[in-house]
């Protein structure tokens, strides 16, 4: 194979090109450093894209944008330059550009509902929380961001947040959160700041079981402004926040039916008349009533039959009753123990219904009342024949007949009423 000879002219040209590259490589960073040291604005910097570099160089030298400092163009998914103009002091003080108090809009998106333990009053979920406020110190020219905003994600967002003022908002009912907290920060030309925080956490909520098993519970996030009073920071929401605040269509929760998200702004009293802004985002979830039917209501209604059976088993005769009182009393005592055991089992599994007034405690109350009534009847009517002794066999017979149907009717009626009241 014939070896190709390299001409001196070609070698010289290659040397010149290499020398030019070398000079460019040496001087390019020095130039950048020199500009930075001199406090002059940084020109748009290419982020690995020739097209973007060409766009950046399209700014006329010495124009207003260049003089004020132009933020670099950022390809999709990459971070923007600092939120503040180069050389500017961090804007950590409260923004007073639009006056005080600063309105911080809050919106919550429930991305995933992991679990809701109504017995402990805790729920786990992943949420996106959006905070929006305006800091006119962060205003910039529209042409500085071709997407209409500057954006930072993750650690870069955290770095940027360290340079600007942000509201000190705490979620007061949060118990624990996962180690990862995602941030996305956007700043718009008008100075509007939008911070979205994604977090998986466990929250504490109050469970009101009064309407169990037709109850509606509220998965609540309580936002509270710390340190800054309502004279400085208030929490607000508007139509956009309401629209943004919802539960993901793919989110589901075993035994519960998720509904709408509601936002509510309020204040909390502090010392010496101070007030702190509070905002509550609550997602309501309706319990699927059928889940409580088999384990709770069927045994409860069945146990109601025991004292009734103690009445029905007997029969009035001119001399008194067919069945001995002690046998029926035994039945009643057996029923009492079964209701105690049932209440223990249910209250252990469903701790939230153990205390307070609700359908289950009412039905247990009805069970005990019916048992007490049935034992009273057994003693007074069957054992001592009080009615027969005082008013004769005819009244005795009629009283027994009346009790035999009135007790089941009233017991059943009361049970149904308890359920209907809960269903309202």
């Amino acid at each position: 194979m014939r070896r190709r000879r390299t001409s001196p002219a070609r070698s010289l040209a290659a040397l010149v090109i290499m020398a030019l590259f070398g000079i460019a490589l040496v001087f390019f960073p020095l130039r950048s450093r020199a500009v930075a040291k001199g406090g002059a604005p940084a020109k748009p910097v290419a982020s690995g894209s020739a097209k973007l570099a060409a766009s950046a160089s399209a700014f006329p030298s010495g124009s207003a944008s260049a003089a004020e400092g132009v933020a670099p163009f950022v390809p999709h998914g990459a971070a923007s330059a600092s939120a503040l103009p180069p050389g500017a002091e961090p804007a950590l003080s409260i923004p007073t550009g639009k006056g005080l108090p600063v309105s911080v809009n809050v919106a919550v998106f429930f991305l995933e509902l992991k679990a809701f333990d109504d017995t402990k009053g805790e729920f786990d979920c992943t949420t996106d929380v959006r905070y929006r406020w305006t800091d006119l110190r962060l205003k910039f020219e529209k042409r500085e961001a071709y997407r209409g905003y500057k954006e930072w994600r993750g650690n870069e967002a955290e770095d940027e947040l360290a340079k600007i003022w942000k509201p000190n908002i705490d979620v007061t009912n949060r118990l624990e959160s996962s180690s990862y907290v995602g941030h996305r920060l956007r700043i718009f030309p008008s100075g509007d700041v939008e911070l979205i925080t994604r977090m998986t956490a466990k929250y504490k909520v109050a469970v009101n079981a009064e309407r169990f098993p037709f109850d509606r519970q509220y998965l609540v996030l309580d936002f509270l402004v710390r340190e800054e009073t309502t004279d400085e920071v208030v929490l607000r929401f508007n139509n956009e926040d309401v629209q943004w605040s919802r539960v993901s269509k793919n989110a589901s929760l075993d035994g519960w039916d998720p509904g709408l998200v509601d936002l509510d702004a309020d204040v909390v009293q502090g010392w010496n008349g101070d007030r702190y802004a509070k905002l509550t985002a609550s997602l309501f979830v309706d319990r699927l009533a059928t889940t409580g039917l088999a384990p709770i209501f069927i045994p409860l209604v069945a146990s109601l039959l025991i004292p009734l059976l103690a009445i029905w088993m007997n029969k009035a005769t001119p001399e008194g009753f067919e069945v001995e009182a002690f046998e029926l009393a035994n039945m009643g005592i057996g029923g009492l123990f079964s209701v105690i055991a049932l209440s223990f089992a249910i209250y252990t599994s469903y701790a939230m219904i153990a205390g307070g007034d609700n359908t289950v405690t009412r039905l247990f109350g009805l069970n005990y009342a019916t048992l007490a009534l049935s034992l009273t009847i057994v003693v007074v009517l069957f054992r001592y024949n009080i009615v027969r002794r005082w008013w004769g066999p005819y009244v005795h017979e009629q009283v027994f007949k009346w009790i035999a149907w009135a007790m089941p009717v009233l017991t059943l009626g009361t049970s149904v009423a308890f359920l209907l009241v809960a269903a309202q």
Binding site: G99, N239, V399
Partner: protein
């Protein structure tokens, strides 16, 4: 007729009817109370709307009068000096826009030609006197006016004040326009009333030429209206549909959405010249009132059940136990005695009611005579 059966049945039925009637009346009173509570809610919603519209009009008017009466502003308008007028007002309007959401400010020359739009200084010279009757009225009659108009930015509560020169001659007019969304947000924030405004689609397309594309979309279409703004769009779409939206006067109704009862008040939206161009919809959560009324009804029916059972018990025990059964038993024994059977003694006398005791004693005497 067997009194034992029919007589007691009649007594029990009578007591049942009486209890039922009392329960019905109690139920009726509960319904009335609920109705009155709801009517109060509807009235509250109408009053709130009226008050906040008036307050918004006053805000627009006070701003417009204040600005129009400033010497620099007046002199520049009289001199037809657009650049100076903009210089006078630019900073003021920017602050008003940034801090207070005042989105529109415009100077006109008679009979309604746009002289300077503070929100869009580059656009001027168009005659609005025909499309905007309120503007025409101010520029013809030299009086200030407030009201709702469909402007290029959408439905706006505007206040237009005339600007006179030193001789008192009309030199032009100035208007401030406040948009409806902040007003509806205030209703929600202050009273927890959800609010929405629906505007005729045809008018929006014709007049609201600067409207954002996200408003005129099929998902916002409700009958011939477009849901222009709502404090809770998802809820509004379920509460107000094609069937309810067509109204000529204020009306209200209840609707259950996602298991919650809402009271919805619809109020026609009129422009300055009295033409209905849309509908305001306000909604308040009435779940608590309904639940309380429902619970009251359940307790009333349970009380009625207890009452009926108690009445039935009294009738059966007293009438049958004390009267009919002893009389029936004595009758059967008497019949047996007449047939020659004297073996069945009466029950102990003191177990009979006083009124029956002579009968039992008479029977016992006859039986003993027959035995002897």
């Amino acid at each position: 007729m067997t009194f034992r059966r029919r007589g007691t049945a009649l007594l029990v039925a009578t007591s049942f009817i009486v209890v039922l009637a009392i329960t019905g009346i109690a139920n009726f009173l509960t319904t009335r109370l609920l109705h009155e509570a709801k009517e109060e809610n509807y009235k509250l919603m109408r009053d709130v709307l009226q008050s906040i519209v008036k307050s918004t009009e006053d805000k627009a008017l006070s701003r417009a009068e204040m600005i129009a009466s400033m010497n620099g502003v007046r002199d520049s308008l009289v001199a037809r000096d657009r650049a100076k007028l903009l210089e006078e007002c630019e900073r003021m309007f920017k602050i008003q826009d940034e801090k207070y959401g005042v989105s529109r400010g415009q100077f006109h020359l008679p009979p309604g030609i746009s002289f300077l739009r503070l929100h869009n200084p580059k656009k001027f010279g168009d005659d609005q006197s025909v499309s905007r009757p309120m503007l025409g009225d101010v520029n013809v009659n030299d009086v200030l006016r407030t009201g709702l108009e469909i402007t290029p930015a959408g439905p706006t509560i505007s206040a237009i004040v005339p600007v006179d020169d030193d001789s008192g001659k009309l030199a032009g007019s100035f208007e401030i326009g406040l948009e409806l969304p902040p007003m509806l947000d205030k209703i929600k924030e202050a009273y927890n009333i959800e609010a929405a405004v629906f505007v005729e689609e045809k008018l929006l397309k014709e007049l609201a030429t600067e409207l954002g594309g996200d408003v005129l979309t099929p998902k916002n279409r409700v009958g011939r209206y477009i849901r222009y703004y709502s404090t809770h769009p998802e809820l509004a779409s379920m509460l107000v549909t094609d069937k309810e939206i067509e109204i000529l006067e204020a009306r209200h109704y209840d609707k259950t959405v996602e298991g919650t009862m809402w009271g919805v008040q619809l109020v026609p939206l009129y422009t300055y010249n009295g033409k209905q161009v849309g509908v305001y919809a306000l909604a308040i959560n009435q779940a608590q009132e309904n639940a309380a009324a429902g619970r009251a009804r359940v307790w009333q029916f349970l009380t009625a059940l207890f009452a009926v059972v108690a009445f039935a018990g009294v009738v059966l025990v007293v009438v049958r136990g004390l009267l009919l059964s002893p009389v029936q038993a004595l009758g059967e024994r008497m019949k047996a005695l007449a047939d020659g059977d004297a073996s069945q003694p009466a029950d102990p006398i003191d177990t009979y009611a006083d009124e029956v005791q002579p009968l039992a004693e008479g029977y016992e005497r006859l039986r003993k005579e027959r035995q002897s």
